[in-house]
């Protein structure tokens, strides 16, 4: 049996004796007798070597693809070695939320640096210290915009489906209405948006680039929403932000997104990172931790959790959100990632993603039956038709060691390319498509 209890058996009985008890079960006098468990139906404890073998067995039953053309909310990017080594440092790994600022300056400063990075990427004034993931960030952003008069939200149908379902679940909980704005040729139908807006709408949410990889007409959406007095929330891809017009520049009120592309592994869906940024006017409505700069009694620069009057441990049921633990170590990974890539490096990652997606798009769409579905600019994802059953196509690609694009409900395929896909891999994919779709 494995154990992490350092005291020896002799020391434990000395401790028991010191408090005047005879057996461990005496510690549980307050627990009703009939409730005490006699034995758990669990395996016997195991040694470290046995445990790692068991874990290798689980991991071995998963298939790891080297050639991945699937995104749809989780993206395959290169993670620099320095990212993994920094977040493995035990002090960062094993610390709690930095309530005791004097011995937590390392974590606090790293969050401050992260907040600065998110503010720069989004073009916003301020960011929080992270939330659970992109979907919960979107749902929390809707909550930020609601007030007594305005409770509904208009949400583009062109967003990632799990973000949609999470928005729906949170809003159902709060008894707040969510109305889906229909799509037209893969983008939000602007005329429909106009007709759905009314003075009870608190926010309009859309994703840029959207689920199909396409750029929405952000300027028009923001202008129309603001005219109707609604706030605008933009869900954004952080790699694309290195290139594309920012929520800040475009005039959005809140920017949120999935931070996984910034140095976090695919990891079967988590842990990931939800980022949230806004303008100073709304900063006190942000959920979660926020770090601010201050000074200590000697006038030395220092960092501290601030604006805590929004939070659950102070405000209880009147809090802005219930969030407590967030994704701090993932935020640190994102921070190290962005610093390692640097100003020009992140632009290069984004440009390689875009360039490769354009190359792949041209190559695939030249094949009979794989026509592009939507016209217009895209970032690193696009949708094509599929001349045969999409699931069957995927099986055939899988036999060639390729994880193809994601089959959508309508039989089309959502493809993704990143800097990880070499030209050789893409050419192989195209050759394979020629063969299997014949």
């Amino acid at each position: 049996m494995g154990s992490y209890i350092p005291s020896s058996a002799a020391e434990r009985s000395q401790m028991l004796g010191a408090i005047g008890l005879e057996s461990m079960r005496d510690l549980y006098q307050a627990v009703p007798e009939q409730m005490l468990v006699s034995s758990l139906d669990l395996p016997e404890g195991a040694s470290e070597l046995e445990v790692i073998r068991l874990m290798q067995a689980y991991a071995g039953e998963n298939r790891v693809f080297d050639s991945i053309f699937r995104g749809a909310g989780a993206y395959h990017h290169y993670i620099p070695s320095i990212v993994k080594s920094v977040i493995a440092k035990e002090d960062f790994l094993t610390a709690y939320t930095p309530y005791q600022a004097e011995i937590s300056q390392g974590i606090l400063q790293s969050i401050f640096e992260y907040q600065t990075m998110i503010a720069e990427l989004t073009g916003m004034d301020a960011s929080n210290a992270s939330v659970y993931d992109g979907a919960s960030a979107a749902a929390e952003a809707l909550t930020m915009c609601r007030d007594k008069k305005r409770t509904s939200a208009l949400v583009a149908s062109t967003i990632q489906p799990m973000v949609m379902s999470t928005i729906q679940t949170y809003s159902d909980g709060a008894d707040a209405e969510v109305i889906r704005v229909p799509e037209l040729d893969g983008r939000m139908d602007i005329e429909a948006l106009k007709s759905l807006l009314h003075d009870g709408v608190a926010s309009v949410y859309f994703q840029q680039p959207n689920y199909y990889g396409l750029f929405e007409d952000a300027q028009a959406i923001i202008e129309i929403a603001h005219q109707a007095g609604a706030k605008v929330i933009m869900g954004v891809n952080p790699i694309a932000l290195a290139l594309m017009a920012t929520p800040g520049e475009l005039g959005a009120d809140i920017a949120v997104g999935e931070g996984q592309p910034l140095g976090l592994p695919l990891a079967f869906g988590g842990p990931y990172l939800g980022f949230m940024a806004t303008r100073m006017a709304m900063v006190r409505r942000l959920p979660g931790r926020i770090v601010g700069e201050t000074v200590d009694v000697d006038g030395k620069r220092a960092f501290v959790l601030t604006l805590q009057a929004r939070e659950q441990h102070i405000r209880r049921e009147k809090a802005q959100s219930n969030i407590c633990s967030n994704q701090a170590l993932c935020a640190m990974a994102a921070s190290v990632y962005a610093a390692a890539m640097g100003r020009d490096g992140l632009i290069e990652v984004a440009n390689q993603c875009h360039s490769k997606a354009v190359y792949l798009n041209q190559a695939i769409c030249a094949l009979p039956g794989f026509e592009v579905v939507h016209e217009g600019e895209f970032f690193h994802e696009f949708v094509t038709r599929c001349p045969i059953d999409a699931q069957l196509l995927m099986q055939k690609l899988e036999q060639r060691g390729i994880l193809g694009g994601l089959p959508l409900d309508d039989g089309n395929i959502l493809w993704c390319a990143t800097e990880m896909n070499t030209k050789a891999q893409m050419d192989q994919l195209v050759d394979a498509l020629k063969e299997v779709a014949r």
């Binding site: 350092p6 991991a59 094993t94 004097e102 390392g106 974590i107």
Partner: protein, 479 residues
């Protein structure tokens, strides 16, 4: 020390990516941002030294004793990190076909089976990313249950006054009104107050047992029965499960839904504030409402399933998967003997440490405590002017992370101490000696404690100034 942005120098970079091997494509002008994000420009050694310096200004469990009450800062085993880093876990896309992720699905269902055994529940969802997220899900399930059964008007959640702040905050997120019930003299729920509080408008009760005073409520069966008889459901906040895991089960106490904190009880690291995991276990009555994409074992392998009346999702995909990997490692290591042994030793350590200081520090409750105890420093403050905060800051100078301060709210000048089972007898004795030294100092030289800490990288901070004039990001020099 300097910020990343202050050590940045024009033209520095790491060499990370190969040259682009396809023609370069540019976004059209109208879609592009007007100026680049001002990310730092650094070399690898700049980064390495920067983060090493930051890590030295951070106190983790590996640095020293961390008796932070209700946070269960136990040792985080290294093998768990090694398992989480296996490529078969870390390099798997969440939307791969199910036949290529059988290992992940088997792992999740095995972890579910074992955690259901430990908690006495029927099914478990791993979707929530943290304890508070689990609370939100648990309450959404309760709400869906009442709605499904046509129980209109059940919109009140009963929460004891000793509860964590997340309980009322979570209740408010699902539109529930919070009814606070007082604690009795022993620190448990006041049964008469509870009987008076329940009624046709009761959606449920949220309870931590043992509670934040470190007291196991001996009336627990009566409490859950009162709520059930009124038509409500019982929610177990698993923050303090470390006291009783393998010894007693929430499912046997009458709870219908429970959340766990894998980053507390099951040995996964806190990471400076996450990622954690807050799985939610339910009794059969709530299974039809579980979140979508529930892993399930079928005759021919593993798959995902959506419950008949699923509430939807509370996040993307299937939860903080790599955290569940670590927690399963922990459970497999301890096994059926080790799980209760950990709980027993957590309670033993807590009682032993309390025993070493209770002659000079009054405690919030009498008798045997569970995994944590609450020191009540109001008399000390009246006598010497030294507050709970001053004692906490004195601990910082002596290499000990302070206990949770000013919580629970019902104890004045509270310090809530949770040693955990992974601290040795000698560590507890050293910590008790330090607390005795600080007690003496409070009488002999209180000013020195008002000034503490003096040996930390920075000293007490101007928190009021930080909130009044928020500076939440680095201000780049003009021009």
């Amino acid at each position: 020390m300097k910020l990343l942005y202050e050590i940045s120098a024009e033209g520095r970079a790491l060499s990370l990516l190969p040259k682009l091997d396809v023609p370069r494509a540019e976004l059209p002008e109208n879609l592009r941002r007007t100026s680049p994000a001002r990310l730092p420009q650094l070399s690898e050694i700049d980064l390495s030294r920067h983060y090493t310096a930051l890590s030295k200004r951070t106190h983790g469990v590996n640095d020293g004793f961390y008796p932070l009450g209700s946070c269960t800062m136990k040792y985080n085993a290294r093998v768990n990190e090694e398992a989480a880093a296996l490529p078969g876990f870390s390099r798997v896309h969440p939307l791969q076909p199910v036949h290529t992720v059988q290992g992940s699905l088997r792992l999740l269902t095995d972890a579910e089976t074992m955690l259901c055994e430990i908690t006495g529940m029927d099914r478990m969802s791993f979707q929530p990313a943290a304890g508070a997220h689990g609370e939100l899900l648990g309450l959404l399930l309760i709400k869906a249950y009442h709605k499904h059964h046509g129980n209109v008007g059940r919109n009140k959640i009963i929460v004891p006054d000793s509860a964590h702040g997340t309980n009322p905050a979570s209740a408010a997120m699902v539109g529930y009104q919070v009814i606070s019930v007082p604690s009795n003299a022993e620190g448990g729920v006041d049964l008469d107050a509870l009987r008076a509080a329940v009624g046709e408008d009761t959606a449920g009760l949220m309870l931590t047992n043992p509670n934040t005073l470190g007291v196991f409520d001996k009336n627990i069966l009566e409490i859950t029965q009162i709520v059930h008889e009124a038509g409500g459901l019982n929610y177990y906040d698993g923050a303090n499960l470390n006291a009783i895991m393998g010894v007693a089960r929430p499912g046997d106490m009458g709870f219908d839904v429970v959340h766990l904190n894998l980053h507390k009880t099951f040995g996964t690291p806190h990471g400076g504030g996450g990622p954690g995991a807050g799985p939610v276990g339910v009794k059969d009555c709530l299974v039809p409402f579980l979140p979508a994409h529930q892993p399930i074992k079928l005759d021919d392998g593993y798959a995902f399933e959506d419950a008949a009346h699923t509430i939807g999702t509370v996040k993307s995909f299937y939860g903080n998967f790599l955290v569940v990997v670590r927690a399963l490692c922990y459970i497999l290591t301890l096994g059926r003997e080790g799980i209760p042994e950990a709980a027993e030793n957590a309670v033993l350590n807590s009682n032993y440490m309390m025993h070493l200081i209770k002659d000079i520090y009054p405690m919030a409750t009498d008798g045997i405590c569970m995994h944590e105890f609450v020191m009540a420093l109001e008399p000390l403050k009246k006598q010497t002017g030294v507050s709970a905060m001053d004692i906490a800051k004195g601990l910082l100078d002596r290499g000990i992370h302070p206990p949770t301060m000013y919580f629970p709210l019902i104890v004045h000048e509270a310090l809530m101490v949770e040693p955990t089972e992974t601290e040795s007898k000698s560590t507890l004795e050293q910590a008790a000696d330090v607390l005795r030294e600080l007690h003496k100092l409070a009488h002999d030289d209180p000013e020195s404690l008002h000034q503490a800490p003096i040996h930390t990288p920075v000293r007490r901070l101007d928190e009021v100034g930080a909130a009044r004039n928020p500076r939440l990001r680095y201000a780049f020099p003009e021009g």
